[in-house]
């Protein structure tokens, strides 16, 4: 369970204070697929970064399984992300010198998992998302859609509690976007908690629940 309480995020540039998140509160039960939607500049990604411990809110609290995660020090936050979060960004940003499989097992190595087991489990993930033939391909040998799916596998290879996806379809064409969404839905069916930010209504509506944001506030909270 993720509890987001009264999150405020201001950006300060000299004397100018920009209020991006204006006291947002909501809860995400375990296993839910939540999409956050809204026009550009409304604070969707900023909210995701606060939840993913990539940024610190100006005030408020985020409780994950009864732990106030905003009190973590840098090293603790890194460790927490490693063990519990997976991230998918707009572009895959796979390490160019690593094969798709090597990219996927890297977080698991850091988490202390056995190399052989990490490899086996990551290979299972590739199989699950229909990329078994591409496990040993370098990112340059993969299409844009395959790269993004590989980045999803990297994000879930460590079996994280929550998968954060920030505009994962932004750089993909319609067909590849649908492929990616079907991959996310497949994961959700397996019990994966997913928080996805998107500005595309078609994909937002594929989730279980949709938060519609405007001007730094939640305007609508819809169960789909």
């Amino acid at each position: 369970m993720i509890k987001v309480n009264e999150i405020i995020k201001n950006f300060t540039n000299g004397d100018i204070v920009t209020k991006v998140l204006k006291g947002i509160s909501f809860e995400v039960p375990d296993g839910q697929f939540l999409s956050i939607m809204g026009p550009s500049g409304t604070g969707k990604s900023t909210l995701l970064y606060q939840m993913g411990l990539l940024d610190e809110p100006t005030s408020g609290s985020i409780i994950i399984d009864e732990t106030d995660v905003l009190h973590f020090k840098e090293a603790e936050a890194t460790r927490f992300r490693l063990k519990n979060f997976g991230f998918v960004f707009q572009d895959s940003a796979l390490i160019p010198e690593f094969t798709a499989l090597e990219n996927a097992i890297l977080p698991n190595l850091m988490a202390g998992y056995d190399y052989k087991k990490s490899k086996e489990e990551a290979t299972e993930m590739f199989k699950f998302l229909g990329m078994l033939d591409q496990v040993n391909h370098l990112p340059s040998q993969l299409s844009g859609g395959e790269q993004q799916r590989a980045s999803v596998i990297r994000a879930i290879a460590g079996k994280p509690k929550i998968l954060f996806a920030d505009e994962p379809t932004a750089n993909l064409d319609t067909e590849k976007s649908r492929d990616l969404m079907s991959a996310l839905l497949k994961l959700h069916k397996q019990g994966q908690t997913i928080v996805m930010v998107t500005h595309e209504e078609e994909y937002a509506k594929m989730a279980q629940r949709m938060l519609y944001m405007r001007d730094g506030k939640i305007e609508k909270d819809t169960i789909l």
């Binding site: 090293a75 890194t78 460790r79 991230f87 940003a93 390490i95 160019p96 010198e97 879930i156 994966q192």
Partner: protein
Amino acid sequence: MKSILGIKNPRKKCKDTVYMPTQLNNLKLIIRTAFFIASKSIQRGSLIVKLVTVFILLLTFLNLLVIGGLLIGITEDVSVKVKDSLTGDVFIEPSLEYDYIQNTGDIFSVLKGTPGVRYSPRLTTGASIEYEYKSVGSEKNPPRVSAVVAGIDPLLEAQVTNIEQRVIAGSFLNENWDFIVLGSSLVDGYTSSKMGSGSTLGHVLIGDKVRIRFSNNNLLEFTVVGIVNSKSSTVDQRAFVNQKILRQILSTAGNSYSEIAIVTPNNIAPASLIEELRDIPRGNRNDVKSSDEAIPSAVGDLKKAFGLIGNLVGATALFVGIITIFVIIFVNVSSRRRYLGILKAQGISAPTLILSYVFQIIFYMLVGLILGTIIILIFLQPYFAKNPISLPMAEGELFLTQAYVSIRVIVLFIAAVISTFIPAWLIIRQNTLNAILGR
């Protein structure tokens, strides 16, 4: 349903919510992951970057060793020549307040009682040597030089120094009292270069006569039988005559000596003999020195100056090398800022990413060191052994001791690691989100 994600219960709690691995375990994980990243980057990274990095490290390594090694080779050769042609392993001179070595009887007893020790006691004096004094008129001064005249026992000297082998024209002294061997710096025409700034006697030929005016105004004529060129300035500015005649001219007692050169056998350390010679009665009135201590001050200064030049050249090379490495790593890490940010977001810690760069530079440095060692051993050392840098006072070969090489390798290692660590740390420590968003 079998879950691929291992999520049988979606309500599972966070893993290790507040768990932090022990420092040792964390270190192991960091090293393992960093090594994995480094090995893949080395295996599949840009060939140009790899080649340039290795090349820079190779050049820095060679610069650190070769220039300094050649300069040390020259100064070592100077020292060796002084030792072989003048001082031997141990050198005895009277201390400043005495004209001659004190208590020579006890000294010779010690030397004779030490098996394998060879020694050559010498009598020296300052004098003026003249040439062509018969052919120039009384209104004109003949060519004249001031020099140290050394009275030696030719047989003993031949056992201690290599002067006999360094005769480049004519022959060495024998028992004849009126023969003289001149150092090459006192004459012209026997060597391509000449040390010292003093005047010479001119083109003296073997068999020519020279005249020596001693400090007590005695004047004696000698026949030049040989010219010696040892490349040691002290020796090459001397004239050698038979000790018996010099003792007669100076009217000195039979046990008066100005210097004793001693060579010790391999099984006797010079230091122990020096200690023994210092311990004899009135031993403190003599200056008992090792060959290194007996090196003329000018040679000592030359060694220091060459050492300093070598270190300066090495330091400059090292500085240029580490700046270049710094720039390469900085550009490399900067261009990967986004990847590194995403890895940090995934939980790969900053120390892991920094260490992966350090591992890479260690690998490139090892490659550079191996290539550098091959170049030195296969090309440079044999080349300089065959074609030494010929200077008036020495012939410079590439002289590399284990200590000299080890220190420079360690310095290069530390410098390379620091010049990698700093740019990697500067970039990687930046805010993760800024790195991901390219801000």
